[in-house]
Amino acid sequence: MTQSVVVQVGQCGNQVGCRFWDLALREHAHVNKKGIYDEALGSFFRNVDPRCEEGSGTPRIAGLRARAVLVDMEEGVLNEVRQGPLRQLFSTTQLISDVSGSGNNWAVGHHTYGSMYREQIVDQIRRAAEHCDCLQTFFLIHSMGGGTGSGLGTCVLKLLEEEFPEVCRLVTAVYPSSEDDVITSPYNSVLAMRELTEHAHCVFPIENQSLVDIVSQIQHMAHTGKPSAVIKKDCTIISGQGGMSKTQKPFDSMNNIVANLLLNITSSARFEGSLNMDLNEIAMNLVPFPRLHYLVSSLTPLYTLADVNVPTRRLDQMFTDAFSKEFQLMKADPRHSLYLSCALMLRGNVQVSDLRRNIERLRPTLSFVPWNAEGWKVSLCSVPPVGHTHSLLALANNTCVASAFTKLRDRFIKLYRKKAHLHHYMCVEGMETADFSEALHSLSALIDEYSQLHTHTHTHQAPRLNIAT
């Protein structure tokens, strides 16, 4: 089996990352009750002898270390990690921090810290990579709105491309909502996007506003629970119950959703199933053209009813929900835009017939590009998420991202036209005036490439190849 290394950068990246590690431990503890260090566990964790930090060599779990590198240019979050319940997962060298942060300035993160910490970061990543016998994927987690995650995070992305060109680079990027309190977040996001478009294999854009809305939707459901529909307390997607951290911090519920996304993306590669989907299949299936690699995701069900029997209707509802606006981790509506491709990754008690029935049911309500009218990728993993009997993760390459990106571009232009705050960026060494216009140009080009797909929807079928008979 293959392994993945997680690189989490900045406050958001590290907070999301820690929720991921907590839930990943919980998931493996649930599946693997015998305390044996198995291949599935090995995909994200090393087994070390805690006394010497070397590989333990025993089949039993001795000490688990996350295959991760944690980077923040501020001390706060990483200090919490050092003292928190997950501290044993990381050896001190895996944590790289400075004191003052990037002050919400992409240029400081990208250029200043990028050149200062480059070597240390590469060293740590290389060390993590050496501990893998088949490193397949890097998961990079960061926000787009701040300075460290977006700036240094995308610098790390380039460095991964240079140092490990063969390894798949999947980025989980948290986009600021329109009422974000970081004023420069549109600058940071657009500057970062240019790097993501050019250097990532796939990006899973997550919008904070979507996470906020999903959390409140779930809380609403939990409180208005009808007597016939009791919601199990320990298995909603936002709950961290059963994990190591006992106290809930402000972003925890939201970050648990992102952590669940990562667990579900990787489940079919970690656990067995009758139709496996390895991580290298994501880009192969979902990315028809290299730059168009932004995948909108949705997770269903968001909560589980205490009743364990799954009537067909409720299962079908799960499929319907996966396409509805309310369940997308981005403020976008794939159902009313054009699909380039779509993956349905199922876990638990779901059969091919459920899958086929729902694809046939939903297909007429969706539009696909004409050259990929049956653009589905499906997978069946036999192990459900903790507390659920079944679940669905939908990943869509859909032109709806263009409208979300257009809004981001508008916010960028509003600031840029007034040259607001520009001097904070221009005084950073390594930053050039052209960087802003080029980043804007790159985003506009991306938006255009998505929009152009709409104009070709009515092309006729290509005339077939003639052969001499």
Partner: protein, 442 residues
């Protein structure tokens, strides 16, 4: 004589495991010594400990599927896979035919060849090689094609039969049509014949004939295994009577593939039903064969919903009219009957010359095999292996969809990365258009 089975990729390994399990249970359940011995010689060997070991080589580029197949076989308590008969790596081919064919195949050529050679050397006489794979993924299709090519070089005189699973037409791997086109175009000249199961058809059999509500991949594989078993288990042929024919693959191929341009074989079996209804059903040979014949000419892979209006055109009739009637013309058919009185059933309906192309000598187009032993719990059963136009439409759909995608150049960068160029694609398209044209003009 023995057959070495090569299971490739997830699909190949899951179907292969199901097939050995069906074959084993059938030959033990039959309670007939000759039949059991012949089947065991064909598919199993006996190891030092006296246990049955499948004559199989398991190949995948990731470990999970193979370890489950091995575990399932061991759990049966009756047979196992060979101790060192599998080859796997850590990561799959990522649904990329080019990755399988250009990278994994050549890199692991020696290891896979060794495994097959070892297994072949354990056969007193090798009847041929049976390779099982899907066409939609990366390993079965890409590595499978490459391995078939190597085996063709290693065993130029042996029969090589490929079993291919075609994907659901409504999509399950996005690049499935590209991978299918690349696989089919190359296998066509390497393999002696391609036996095809379409997942859509088998799915329908599960839901409409077997009455399964929640159809799993295992349910689908059991139907495929049943049909494969019914052609591969011992049977008496015209030449071998009164004994079981020993060279199953050779006889199959010589009955069905009379021209190298035509080697797509489809299967249909009758009856197929759930265990519970089986207990309440009785069949006569004339009834079964009447249905089966109509399934053949109307191109229905199932006895449910056959179009009884389709009939064999009178000779000299307009060919366009035939096409409108959806008449399915054959090059050759092989009918396998199993159960009581199988040898005396009247198969005259399949001998009608107007079922076949006019340019083949009438004697060579139709063959019957039979066995008095009821197969897999069915008191009487019939399976028809057909080299006919029946796969023309699904093949045409695959090529059409792949061609549409190719026109936009979508996903092509994933293939060129591993050395498959646009010209390679064009060659494959041209090759398949040729096959489509040949079958169309039968």
């Amino acid at each position: 004589m023995s057959v070495v089975t090569v299971q490739l990729g997830q699909c190949g390994n899951q179907i292969g495991q199901e097939m050995f399990s069906t074959i084993h249970d059938d030959s033990v359940g039959a309670g007939q010594k000759m039949y059991k011995e012949c089947s065991e010689e064909r598919f199993f060997r006996v190891n030092a400990a006296g246990a049955l070991v499948a004559r199989a080589v398991l190949v995948d580029m990731e470990p999970k599927v193979i370890s489950r197949a091995i575990a399932k076989a061991s759990k049966s308590g009756h047979w196992t896979y060979g101790d060192k008969a599998h080859f796997c790596q850590k990561q799959g081919s990522g649904n990329n035919w080019a990755n399988g064919y250009c990278v994994h195949g050549p890199r692991h050529r020696d290891a896979v060849e060794d495994l097959v050679r070892r297994e072949a050397e354990r056969c007193d006489r090798l009847a041929g090689i049976f390779a099982i794979m899907s066409v939609a993924g990366g390993t079965g299709s890409g590595v499978g094609t490459y391995v078939t090519q190597c085996l063709r070089d290693m065993y130029p005189q042996s029969f090589i039969l490929n079993h291919l699973t075609w994907p659901y037409a409504t999509g399950e791997v996005i690049v499935q049509n590209y991978n299918s086109v690349l696989t089919l175009s190359r296998l066509y000249h390497l393999s002696d014949a391609l036996v095809v199961h379409e997942n859509d058809t088998v799915h329908k059999i599960c839901s409409q004939l077997m009455n399964i509500k929640n159809i799993s991949i295992s349910d689908i594989n059991r139907v495929i295994a049943h049909q494969l078993g019914s052609i591969l288990q011992p049977a008496v042929t015209t030449d071998s009577a009164p004994h079981y024919c020993r060279n199953a693959l050779g006889d199959l191929l010589s009955s069905l593939v009379c021209h190298p341009e035509y080697k797509l074989l489809s299967l249909c079996s009758i009856p197929q039903m759930s265990q519970t209804s089986l207990a309440y059903s009785a069949y006569t040979w004339p009834g079964l064969l009447k249905h089966l014949r109509q399934m053949l000419i109307a191109n229905a892979r199932m006895e449910e919903g056959i179009d009884w209006k389709v009939c064999v055109p009178l000779s000299g009739e307009e060919s366009t009219a035939n096409r409108q009637m959806c008449f399915n013309r054959s090059l050759s058919n092989l009918l396998i009957l199993r159960g009581k009185d199988a040898s005396s059933a009247d198969t005259g309906g399949f001998k009608d010359a107007s079922l076949y192309v006019p340019w083949l000598p009438p004697g060579g187009t139709f063959n019957t095999w039979n066995s008095p032993v009821p197969f897999n719990g069915y008191e009487k059963s019939a399976t028809l292996v057909s080299n006919s136009q029946s796969l023309l439409k699904p093949l045409d759909n695959i090529v059409r969809k792949a061609w549409n995608m190719f026109a936009s150049r979508a996903y092509i960068h994933q293939y060129t990365k591993f050395g498959i160029s646009e010209e390679n694609f064009l060659d494959s398209f041209a090759m398949l258009e040729q096959i489509i044209s040949s079958y169309t003009h039968l």
